[in-house]
Symmetry: C2
Subunit: 348 residues, 2 copies
DNA sequence: CTGAAAGCGCTTACAG
DNA sequence: CTGAAAGCGCTTACAG
């Protein structure tokens, strides 16, 4: 038959009901797996669905039931492998719940984020997992409440009133500092980059407090380029600025870049200078020297945030919950005792 | 007012129309930016929408109009940075079209893929971008035609009847082989892993043909572990098997892993042995030695596949189109003249 | 456990 | 350019 006719003849729940000899309401109950329907009735309906090639129409269901089985996920960036892992955790949990992820990328700008949040809302998502763009104002929370839309914050938080899943970044910095201080390092720099947000602040603050707690100077915080490709070149200036014997990195992207840059300068990482990364991405174990890093388990954070959202959709009145996972120090070969690191002064 | 009431009082197009003093149809035309509406009428309606906090209900629109402004994207894997880049390209184009991405992860199994394709269909997506799970049968195409659902294949193809966006993998292998042969290498191995699909076959075939074209033996194809963390350990066996002076890698993940494994064996990559990667991910330039690699531009492929899908949604009767991008050789420091590579025999 | 009726919020012809 | 009516496919009470 012609295409027109095929389109017209889309099979509906009524068709299924008629073929099965039941009412539309009963067919609807079968689709939704209600226990109210008897076994043989259910079987007849299911057979009819199969025979007719019935496709459930979420759109129609959503219109009546105010439930879309879709959640929005707003990330600031897709190419950073860290966010890909986060997304992977989110997707797995949402998928298991029989729901679907609407993915949007804010590019870390609040304007785009605003447009995209509206778009998600128009699409009727049941809730949103938000890794807020840098600069997002806490005022957004009021808007979200007005919208009556469940939201959980992930990795970055902007308000105590909203659920949050993240890692204990300050504790992670403490682990990094203590590890290096225990190895005898005193001149420790912190290499950072990227936009400023809660996770940034917590790391900066964590670094400062941990350094001071060990009686060390905490003012060696140095920004390196945001562009991955340019990070290696930043190694030189970083040294000339403060002559560190050890460097803690804001993330593993920086660590990998500086590892290259230091080697370009003729320095042996893990001998002349120690390097500690942050995030512990898969790669940390397969670069040389193997990278000592603080793991923040992005997949787990993704799973946590998805579970928080599912709970909140189910029970909107729940008080805000924060799941903050401890970080873990993975010692590998890029960090070593300070005595061995003195060789760095050759580099000047 | 209580929450119940707020929910009830969801503002609809009718509310907007009444406040603006027009009919619902007119308000609908304004929402859809129809040119049929006069400027001052439009202004009145828009003002009413703003005043009332109107939110367009895609679900209702879709029910009537059979258009969801959402496309499904099926990937086999999210944690591989390569797919994240692909996704990034797709998302950018779909976003620019005012549409939204439904993201699902098949885990590279056809069973999951089947479930997820159905789910996307129930959600009423306007089309699907499919990076088919390994083992997907060409029979799926008939199902897709029955479903009347626009689909474009990306990175991997299973049928000539469907649109496809990818890279010329065979040509890429030729570039890699020619580059190494030009440097005087004759004992060249090909390190592969992962599931078997069209892109896999094309690379294997491309390697074999290119080697034979240069009069070289093409049987040194060696599988390394799929698990990234285990790749470095595979370097030793790889050598004992065939004593290559150069290795071409199926992708950069393998190249980075072997780079580490070779260095663990005391071999200098780019001197004792040459290494050529495939994909040219960002990282290729920031590991040491810098990795010679064949770029396949995943972001561009993502953009291409999204554009193909948008075109097909607009014009379903278009003949199938294939966009196959040329690859590019990026020579860096991991590949060098063969004479320098003889030192490898020390490793035995 | 099942049926008849109403309605979710929009768009689509069809008149004017 | 605008209005009144019908209907997309489902679910929700309400009776039985």
């Amino acid at each position: 038959m012609p295409v027109e006719d095929r389109k017209k003849s889309r099979v509906t729940l009524l068709d299924v009901a008629q073929r099965a000899g039941v009412s539309r309401a009963t067919a609807s109950l079968v689709v939704r797996k209600s226990p109210l329907v008897g076994a043989q009735t259910r079987a007849r309906v299911e057979e009819a669905m199969a025979a007719l090639g019935y496709v459930y129409n979420m759109g129609a269901a959503r219109l009546r039931a105010e439930r879309s089985n879709a959640v929005g996920v707003v990330v600031p960036n897709l190419t950073n492998p860290f966010f890909a892992e986060l997304l992977s955790g989110i997707e797995a949990v949402i998928d298991r719940a029989g729901m679907v992820v609407l993915l949007v990328n804010s590019g870390d700008t609040v304007e785009r984020q605003d447009v995209l949040m509206r778009r998600l809302r128009e699409h009727g998502v049941d809730g949103i997992i938000l890794c807020a763009a840098a600069g997002t104002q806490a005022g957004i929370v009021q808007q979200l409440l007005d919208w009556d839309l469940p939201v959980v914050q992930t990795l970055r938080h902007i308000s105590p009133e909203l659920d949050y899943a993240g890692a204990d970044y300050a504790a992670g910095m403490r682990q990094a500092v203590d590890h290096l201080a225990d190895l005898g390092h005193t001149a420790i720099s912190f290499a950072v980059h990227g936009p400023v947000h809660s996770a940034y602040d917590e790391r900066i603050k964590g670094f400062g407090e941990a350094m001071r707690a060990r009686g060390l100077k905490s003012d060696h915080v140095i920004r390196v380029p945001d562009q991955t490709a340019q990070i290696p070149q930043a190694a030189k200036a970083l040294f000339e600025a403060s002559r560190p014997t050890a460097i803690i990195c804001f993330n593993d992207v920086i660590a990998v870049g500086l590892n290259a840059g230091l080697s370009d300068l003729g320095l042996k990482v893990g001998k002349d200078v120690s390097l500690v990364g942050f995030d512990d991405v898969t790669e940390a174990d397969i670069i040389r020297p193997r990278l000592t890093s603080i793991s923040t388990a992005p997949v787990t954070i993704g799973e946590d945030s998805a579970r928080l959202l599912l709970d909140r959709i189910r029970e909107p009145q729940l008080p805000p919950r924060w799941i903050i996972k401890p970080t873990q120090l993975h010692v590998r070969h890029s960090s070593a005792a300070a005595a061995l690191s003195l060789g760095i002064h050759k580099a000047g």
